[in-house]
């Protein structure tokens, strides 16, 4: 086990990258403490898998270093790094039994057969594979095969990190939550660092203690699920996490106050507003639909659509051309035509060029 540090990491698939868009990973500086459960969240094609493959050693980064504790492993081969990885599609060795599959990483490293047996049996018990140990791996269902992949990752006692690359993609929806809670349970039991890559916010937020949000090769925020929800550092985080995502409203700053379409809006981070507008950055107001309420006065909007989402309704209104979503609890009256919206000042923030000021 080890602390994993990514030091100024960049990667490009282009032979001689010249501009930022040539880089799949633009600049990654992250430190992962030992034993944590991390999720790497981002849209498809943002470089999540690239980053994972760099940590596992399947790829060599163009620039920067990967450190396990203080050991530089940037150019070490995957089997020297002592890591485990579970892939999007289950990888099983078809001709072997489930037992042999689980034993494979140990046997390759010359572990004594008696120890192999006890380890495999322990892991099979953890992953609910005990009853199938003598069966051929090729005959199992997708979730069974994915459990084998997982088991092969767990079977070595000393792995530094176990990485999951969207491991639930091919699993039936009703089995997804089972496997997810299994993972969570396993993490609490063995306390190995786990990194879970996904584009699904539910998977990331339920699995991880710390979520790393990465759009397009840059880490924009690392935080607990609650932090990501309550205090997004970047409009991307606000928008990507939450359903519906955070409202992002273009605004101007006058005398240190945010003004949206002629209306003054009270913001939580007013102190830094003047500096942001002085620097000539594009300013926006970020407010989650959960903190938007109907009021007698405030921002005037045209109600366009009301969608019922169970305990509350999603109200979609337009202020000019800008869409604003509000979550309104069941039972509250929703006026048709024009309505006024109020924002909770404690949860309304100013963003400059996408970043929280």
């Amino acid at each position: 086990m080890a602390r994993i540090t990514l030091d100024n990491l960049k990667h490009s698939y282009v032979p001689s990258p010249s501009q930022p868009s040539d880089y799949a990973l633009k600049e990654i500086d992250v430190s992962w403490t030992d034993g944590g459960a991390y999720a790497l969240l981002g849209p498809s094609g943002c470089g999540k898998t690239t980053l994972l493959n760099i940590i596992s050693g399947l790829l060599s980064p163009s620039e920067g270093r990967v450190l396990f504790d203080d050991r530089d492993v940037t150019h070490e081969a995957p089997d020297d790094r002592n890591i485990a990885q579970v892939f999007q599609f289950p990888v099983v060795y078809d001709t072997m039994t489930v037992f042999d599959n689980l034993a494979f990483p140990l046997r390759n490293r010359g572990v004594a057969e008696s120890e192999v047996r006890s380890r495999v049996e322990a892991i099979a018990e953890m992953t609910d594979l005990t009853a199938m140990l003598d069966r051929r791996a090729s005959g199992l269902t997708a979730d069974g095969k994915q459990k084998i992949s997982l088991g092969r990752g767990l079977v070595r006692e000393d792995v530094n990190v176990i990485m999951f690359d969207e491991p639930l993609t091919v699993i039936d929806p009703h089995l997804k939550w089972q496997l997810r809670s299994k993972l969570k349970e396993l993490h609490q039991r063995i306390e190995t660092t786990m990194i879970y890559v996904t584009h699904d916010q539910t998977e990331a937020l339920t699995f991880a203690d710390q979520v790393v949000v990465m759009p397009d090769g840059v880490v924009v925020q690392i935080g607990t699920p609650v932090e990501l929800f309550e205090r997004p550092q970047h409009t991307f985080v606000g928008h990507f996490i939450g359903s519906p995502g955070m409202n992002v409203l273009p605004c101007s700053v006058e005398n240190g106050q945010a003004v949206f379409q002629g209306e003054r809006v009270a913001i939580e981070n007013a102190g830094s507003a003047a500096a942001a507008s002085a620097a000539g950055k594009a300013t926006e107001i970020g407010i989650r639909p959960e903190f938007v309420t109907l009021a007698d006065a405030g921002i005037p909007v045209r109600i366009n659509k009301v969608a019922d989402a169970g305990r509350f309704r999603i109200v979609e209104g337009y202020a000019g051309e800008t869409r604003i979503n509000a979550l309104i609890e069941d039972g509250d009256d929703i006026p048709s035509g024009t309505a006024y919206l109020a924002f909770d000042p404690a949860q309304t923030r100013l963003y400059a060029d996408g970043w929280l000021t």
């Binding site: 990885q85 892939f87 599609f89 990483p105 092969r152």
Partner: protein, 287 residues
């Protein structure tokens, strides 16, 4: 559903039934018909029962040809299958060299069989052929028209040259269908390259290799044109394979009865061995 209504479905099968009847069943039945009769021409036939079958199965000439045929087929299978797999493993997976390799590999397959025979005949001539002359000039006594061993070596080399590509292409197709994740997982699991071959590549190639073995078995058991052009079955009878022997009996001597009996035995042997190969290679496979 009423079963009587479904009988109409046979109408749709009729065209293919007629086609197969004309190009397979009727000729085969003609052969069966000949195989139990004696004829002296003029469409006069006498029923002979299984006499020709007994005669063929007891004839040393047939058994020798069968022995040579089996030796030939198993030798080229033993060379072409491992060699084909080995070449496929060394071929590049990505980049422009993929197409170059595939085209080079496909070339021998595009050459007409009689041309292959003629090419190798000239190539191997001991006095003017590149191969024959070179071998003799470095002190190897080589003459495929006079020495059975030379003739066999040339025959096998020719078949390996001509048909290994087929195995390569099939094996390569099998290899390229393996997702990268398998290799990555194997790397992380610390697998040696032998283990990667044994537990990933070979199992994934099993289906295409079954097809390769069956195709090469059937084709090599039926081989006629190339050895006919290369050696004509000689020197003596040393490279007379089953098909050459059959043509000599049927068209050389016009022994239609024995030739027909031989054809049927020949056909049944191929059928039986194909079944054995298929059963052995797909044994223990899950659906």
């Amino acid at each position: 559903m009423n079963k009587v209504e479904n009988q109409k479905g046979w109408l749709f099968v009729l065209p293919v039934v007629i086609l197969v009847a004309f190009n397979a069943v009727i000729p085969l039945m003609t052969v069966v018909n000949y195989s139990v009769q004696e004829t002296f021409g003029d469409n006069v036939f006498f029923f002979e029962g299984v006499k020709w079958f007994e005669q063929v199965l007891a004839s040393e000439r047939f058994l020798d040809a069968l022995g040579r045929q089996l030796f030939f087929t198993f030798t080229i299978l033993a060379i072409e299958i491992p060699l084909g797999v080995a070449i496929a493993l060394t071929m590049p997976r990505k980049g422009i060299w993929v197409s170059v390799c595939l085209v080079l590999m496909a070339l021998p397959l595009l050459i007409p069989w009689n041309v292959v025979g003629a090419m190798w005949n000239i190539f191997a001539l001991p006095d003017i052929g590149l191969l024959g002359k070179t071998l003799n000039s470095i002190g190897i006594d080589y003459n495929f028209t006079r020495q059975p061993v030379s003739a066999w070596a040339t025959l096998i080399a020719m078949d390996v040259w001509h048909w290994t590509s087929l195995v390569v292409l099939l094996a390569y197709a099998g290899l390229s269908s393996i997702p990268d994740a398998y290799y990555q997982a194997a790397k992380i699991d610390g697998a040696s390259s032998w283990a990667v071959f044994r537990y990933i590549q070979l199992p994934k190639m099993k289906r295409v290799l079954t097809i390769a073995v069956l195709l090469r078995f059937m084709d090599s058991f039926n081989i006629y044109t190339e050895p006919f052009v290369l050696t004509g079955g000689g020197p003596g009878n040393s490279t007379t394979l089953l098909s050459i022997d059959l043509v000599k009996t049927a068209l050389g001597q016009f022994d239609l009865g024995p030739a027909a009996a031989m054809s049927i035995i020949y056909f049944l042997i191929i059928l039986l061995l194909s079944w054995v190969f298929y059963t052995v290679m797909t044994r223990g496979e899950d659906a």
